[in-house]
Amino acid sequence: MTDDSSEFDHAVALANCARGEHDALHQLYVHEGARLLGVVVRIVKDRGMAEDIVHDACLNIWQRADSFDPDKGSARAWIFSVARHLALNAIRYRDREVTFDSTYESTYDSTYDSTFGSNDPTELDHPEHLQHATVVEDTFDWQTGQRMDRCLEQLEPERRNCVLHAYVDGLSHAEISAHTGAPLGTVKAWIKRSLLRLRECMT
């Protein structure tokens, strides 16, 4: 339903993967590899790590293709969720692991800053535009022509930005708070309320 690439049947590709056809995974990779990598790079902000994650995601998709149940959701959502959750787990582990030994903290801080500080010219596009937005504007060209657009549209722009930054950039509550200037509690409340409103709107 949400499949924006009608010429490719993700469910058939998964079914063929489940039958052990390497070519089906290759076709899937050819068709979605760049989009998957784009999504993962944006979250983990590290090209090498992102390719590792897409590698793992492809193997997971291959291994679990036969557990995909089309009655429970679209194949494309399933495929992207594998890659996104790998990426999200990886960055949350990274955030956690680096704090266990204070000797690494300085390294971590600089890594962390550079994620947002744009001191690396090779850095991928990142939300500088989020910072200190007193006049809140959309930070994304987010309209997709899907039904969800209408629901997102009903949210206040700063809340919509929070939700989309979380989804697209993998930002935690604290990161969103730091980069919007909104208090942490406010960000948490915005996101939770936004989700409930979105759900209400979509059902």
Binding site: T2, L37, G38, R47, G48, I53, H55, N60, K72, F100
Partner: protein, 249 residues
């Protein structure tokens, strides 16, 4: 406990929680708590999948990034390696001939691993639907081994029980000529790290810890760069290449 609020209907809380899981705002602990609930809670699974569907179109906000020419060949190699190992398993698994076993501690078994980090998510999430006998049970512990300098994840240790772990590479690692990666572990109470033997870069290994106390939360794992034959002292001597602590799942 991980619910955002006690004052709202539980159902709303779960839908919001599922939404936050999909958005990615949850902390590691919250993610794990939710993943632990998923196998037994079809309603929560449904809520998660519904959010996956709702937000999927917004993956299009992100520009595609063309993978390097090496990525597909690497995936294909991993696929083939896995299929070979699947053929080999079933009977006793042939040892991958580690170059050395220290202290006769671990019984090494060569076993092709898999990018199992995602199993933590989708595996748990879809556990109700997974019927393959080869799929490991939900691990009790997980460790991500990071390179101290770059903080990039290099390996994952996954434990399906407190006596058996699997070390899974997330990428490759260039070992300098004449050197080797040695794998160590140390629980908080132990006096010194114990060697778990040498590790081949890019090769997953499975390892039984029969001679060691059961794995515990926060147990340290690290890979150090040692001489080709491993540390001569029985203790790590070279630089730490990857390090992490066990997290109970």
């Amino acid at each position: 406990m991980t619910r955002p609020s006690q004052h709202e209907p539980e159902q709303d809380d779960d839908h919001a929680l599922a939404g936050e899981y999909v958005l990615g705002t949850l902390s590691l602990e919250q993610r794990k708590a939710l993943e632990a609930r998923l196998p037994n809670e079809p309603e929560l699974q449904k809520a998660v999948m519904a959010w996956e569907e709702r937000f999927l179109p917004y993956t299009a906000i992100t520009d595609p990034v063309t993978p390097s020419d090496y990525l597909w060949p690497r995936i294909e190699r991993s696929l083939k390696a896995r299929e070979t190992s699947v053929k080999r398993t079933g009977a006793a698994i042939a040892p991958r001939s580690p170059r050395r076993i220290l202290h006769s501690l671990p019984l090494w078994r060569g076993a092709a691993g898999f990018g199992l980090a995602a199993a933590l998510v989708m595996g748990v999430m879809l556990a109700n639907e997974v019927t393959k006998p080869t799929i490991p049970t939900t691990p009790e512990y997980m460790v991500v081994l990071l390179a101290p300098q770059t903080q990039s994840a290099g390996w994952v240790v996954q434990a399906s029980s407190r006596q058996e772990i699997e070390l899974i590479p997330l990428g490759t690692f260039e070992v300098p000529e004449g050197k080797a990666l040695e794998f160590w572990t140390k629980a908080d109470e132990w006096q010194a790290p114990v060697s778990l033997g040498l590790v081949e870069p890019g090769q997953p290994i499975r390892l039984r810890l029969d001679q060691l106390p059961p794995l515990e939360d926060n147990q340290l794992f690290e890979l150090t760069l040692e001489d080709e034959a491993g540390s001569a002292t029985g203790l790590p001597t070279g630089p730490i290449e990857f390090i992490g602590r066990a997290v109970e799942i």
